[in-house]
């Protein structure tokens, strides 16, 4: 709604608004011709991004991420499970992406949004194929007990680039994750060991060493829209609804390509265009990594 | 008789009014299915009657319709009752099943309330149409009968449902069914549940010797010995419906369609409030609310007495 605040007189503002609603594509193309986007950004610039760690006090790890007005809240809760027979030394990470009705006018209660299972699947595929987490680190007692990490991502405000924001918040929450110290009690159940618990030294924590996950290569992503000859990075919901060709590229911190989605769309993605997108993503990854590192070091100082 | 142009009756004497009541009644039987819409004249008539303390069916504002109780109507459950207030007809049943108490409250049994609105009562309840009202009634009854979280003010003593602490308890399932509805469903259901509970016999249970400390103690359920429930603590619900500036008890559905808000208050024998719920969105001044509470308290005493005597005579009739 960038233009609404512009200091134009009322009548022309009405016209702009009407034009925008009636001819969204022409409205956008007029902007693109001037190399600017309706919200005032250059074509290849991503929106302002912020990360806030530890947003949910009751969770073991959490993060609140905003990209423009797209907001994601992620929380990880650790629970104990019996590992499966095939992989007795591995824990499990369950990723769920939710779009509650508050996030968008399209979602209504009782009818889950189409996008949410799609993004859930993409996220778990991406995180598993990036080999970011070693599931062995989630093991507690071989064959007996392992961590089940429930990672729930809630979209609080949907304004485009949902996957990017969701991935960033998932990654941020994982980097913030503090695994509680636990011990095995007499019944073979896993119980918490509180830090200031002086008298209960009899129970030795089983996971003294593994209180934080080692994140090996962190994946970051950037979604671009290809329209005619233009490439638009980090689209808003409005832009996504007008133009159909989306390309999402996931790179890890070492610059390796982890995944690339291009779900349909009318514009053929030429190799050159895709390479341009990869280049944009590479820049974006650096930016996001520095954001995340800054947040994490700030947390440590506290 | 004089009518003003919009069909409102000019303030006349009661006799004239009674006469009009009869006419209207006749007209109504001619009409298709009753309630869907009231004409402006009818609405004014109902409101005017309430304002004059003479309602359409000849009652005063704080008079109940005749109430009748029948117990033991459903043979396959542990206790049941049918309560009729005017044309409102509800059935409540209590079924007791052995279960495991929850971990949080190992010394208490569980009571669950489920209400259902039969489509016989109103075509609008067809399919899932009655679910919303049923959920509202269940919630309100839960509020009014089951007391606070710690169990204080509960009509049913949950600790009396325990067989073996932490292991076995009785779970009471209270089902209500609205068969015919003509307003004041909540009071009727509350009364039916109270009657059904006093009709309830819970089989005596013997825990097999030596298994008391096992995880699943063996129990023996007697078929011929029943424990009666103490229902003296079960509150009654009095709903005051505000129409215009006045409030009435036991509103018919015609009167309910004219309400601005309704407050349901449950009272026990001691005259203590056991729960309040409000329906209708229109706001109420706190002082009016307090006034309503004190009126309801007064009414509740009469209702309790009436209900107790009805239950007693119903029980006597069933036994004979």
């Amino acid at each position: 709604m960038g233009l609404r605040n512009a200091s134009e007189d009322l009548s022309s503002e009405m016209e702009v608004d009407a034009f925008r609603r009636l001819f969204p594509l022409r409205y956008l193309e007029r902007h693109l011709a001037e190399s600017i986007r309706p919200d005032g950004r250059p074509l290849v610039k991503a929106r302002e991004t912020s990360i806030f760690l530890g947003a949910v006090a009751s969770a073991n790890g959490s993060a609140l991420v905003k990209i423009g007005s797209t907001t994601m809240l992620t929380a990880i809760k650790m629970e104990v499970m019996t590992p499966s027979l095939e992989s007795p030394d591995e824990g499990c990470l369950a990723i769920d992406f939710h779009m509650p009705p508050i996030c968008s006018p399209i979602v209504r209660p009782g009818r889950p949004a189409e996008a949410s299972p799609v993004v859930s699947k993409q996220l778990s595929d991406t995180i598993s194929s990036s080999k970011m987490i070693d599931l062995k680190e989630l093991s507690l007692v071989s064959g007996k007990a392992a961590w089940m990490a429930y990672l729930d991502i809630y979209c609080l405000d949907a304004d485009g680039a949902l996957f990017d924001a969701a991935l960033l918040s998932a990654v941020a929450a994982l980097s913030h994750l503090q695994i509680p110290a636990v011990a095995v009690n007499d019944d073979g159940k896993i119980v918490l060991v509180s830090d200031e618990d002086g008298q209960k030294q009899a129970q030795e924590p089983v996971n003294k060493e593994k209180r934080k996950l080692t994140l090996r290569s962190i994946p970051f992503s950037l979604t671009c829209i290809l329209h005619k000859n233009y490439i638009l990075a980090d689209p808003t919901a409005e832009e996504e609804s007008i133009m159909e060709t989306h390309v999402t590229i996931v790179l890890d911190t070492s610059g390796q390509l982890i995944s690339l989605y291009k779900p349909g769309g009318s514009v053929l993605a030429y190799t050159s265009a895709v390479q341009d997108c990869v280049a944009l993503t590479r820049q974006r990854v650096k930016e996001l990594k520095s954001f995340l590192d800054k947040e994490n070091s700030a947390m440590e100082i506290e | 008789m004089e009518y003003s142009s919009d069909g409102r009756i000019k303030r006349g004497n009661h006799a004239a009014k009674m006469y009009i009541i009869i006419i209207i009644k006749c007209l109504k039987t001619l009409a298709f299915t009753g309630m869907v819409g009231l004409s402006l004249g009818e609405r004014h008539f109902i409101q005017g009657g309430i304002a004059q303390d003479l309602r359409s069916d000849g009652r005063k504002r704080l008079t109940y319709r005749p109430l009748s109780v029948e117990t033991g109507v459903i043979p396959q459950v542990n206790g049941s009752a049918r309560v009729r207030i005017g044309a409102t007809d509800v059935i409540a049943s209590v079924k007791a099943e052995l279960g495991k108490p929850s971990l949080l409250q190992p010394d208490k049994g569980k009571v669950s309330l489920y209400m259902d609105c039969s489509s016989t009562a109103d075509p609008a309840f067809e399919g899932r149409g009655g679910e919303e009202l049923a959920a509202e009634l269940s919630n309100a009854l839960q509020n009014c009968l089951l007391g606070g979280k710690s169990g204080a003010g509960a009509g049913i003593d949950l600790s009396s449902l325990i067989v073996v602490e932490g292991k076995i308890c009785w779970n009471l399932y209270i089902d209500g069914l609205v068969v015919s509805s003509d307003g004041n469903l909540l009071d009727a259901l509350g009364a039916a549940i109270k009657a059904a509970l006093s009709n309830t016999g819970i089989p005596r249970v013997q825990v097999a010797a030596g298994t008391l400390n096992d995880e699943h103690p063996e129990v023996d359920v007697c078929d011929d010995e029943f424990l009666q429930f103490d229902t003296s603590g079960v509150p009654v619900i009095v709903t005051l419906t505000k129409v215009g500036r006045h409030y009435i008890v036991d509103a018919t559905s015609e009167e309910e369609s004219q309400m601005s808000s309704a407050v349901s208050i449950s009272f026990n024998r001691q005259g203590h409030i056991c729960g309040i719920t409000k329906r209708g969105g229109v706001g109420l001044d706190p002082s009016i609310l307090l006034d309503m509470i004190s009126v309801a308290k007064h009414v509740s005493e009469q209702v309790l007495n009436k209900l107790d005597s009805e239950i007693a005579s119903a029980e006597a009739e069933e036994e004979s």
Partner: protein, 241 residues
């Protein structure tokens, strides 16, 4: 299992050809246009009829005759083991359809074009033969509502267990898995409008069983007629005719 003892008595003490106690009451739901309670032993159903009235969903309107709709539901406490019953499950949809088709056959729908008749049946207690009880209750309720009918439909079931034809099965006999014939007839016209049987049964025995069910239906028809007559007399009396 032995369903008929050597002395010729059934589990609940009845003779094979004996019907359970039946009882009917008109006008249980005062808001409805017509209503009735019908009991067959421990089976108890309540039926309410709303209409003829304006068609609620205009797309369903039929210009040549009336729209008949039916909903069957069971109370939570109606069966021995308590469970939450959702409306519109398969069984109740099937029974709704059976009742609707049976009643539609006897209502003179062509006299009431562009209108709608709703029949709601609610089972309070189920002890076998709910289908028949529902049809009988619906007949009474329709008659109470003053809806023109060709004849009173009545229904009764009969089965065949331990090589004996049994009239009016209760729940235990019904769930024995033997053949169960539910029959609906128009007694005056002597026509069968409903016949349901879903089990193996030799054709000559079917005839016997059917004949038994027809007898049952006729007995119910007589009772229903008595009840209606009694009701009409009372109405007459109240009006002071």
């Amino acid at each position: 299992m032995e369903y008929v003892s050597p002395e010729g008595l059934r589990l609940d003490g009845r003779r094979p050809m004996e019907m359970r106690q039946i009882r009917a009451e008109i006008g249980a739901v005062s808001k409805a246009d017509g209503s009735a309670i019908f009991e067959m032993g421990n089976t108890k159903v309540i039926a309410a009829v709303y209409g003829p009235r304006e068609v609620q969903n205009k797309s369903q309107q039929i210009n040549s005759h009336a729209l008949v709709r039916c909903e069957y539901s069971m109370a939570n406490f109606s069966t021995g083991d308590r469970m939450r019953k959702s409306k519109g499950d398969r069984r109740s949809t099937e029974i709704s359809l059976v009742i609707r088709q049976t009643m539609e056959a006897c209502i003179m729908t062509h006299l009431l074009p562009r209108s709608q008749i709703d029949i709601y049946v609610q089972v309070l207690q189920a002890d076998g033969g709910t289908r028949s009880a529902c049809i009988n209750a619906a007949t009474l309720a329709l008659a109470d509502a003053g809806i023109p009918m060709r004849d009173l439909v009545t229904s009764c079931s009969a089965g065949y267990l331990n090589s004996t034809p049994l009239l009016d099965l209760n729940y235990v006999e019904d769930s024995a898995g033997g053949p169960d014939v539910t029959l609906g007839i128009l007694p005056k016209l002597d026509k069968v409008t409903l016949l349901q049987m879903d089990s193996k049964l030799p054709i000559d025995i079917l005839e016997n069983v059917m004949q038994l069910a027809i007898e049952g239906c006729k007995a119910i028809a007589n009772y229903i007629r008595e009840i209606l007559l009694e009701n009409t007399k009372q109405l007459e009396y109240r009006r002071g005719v």
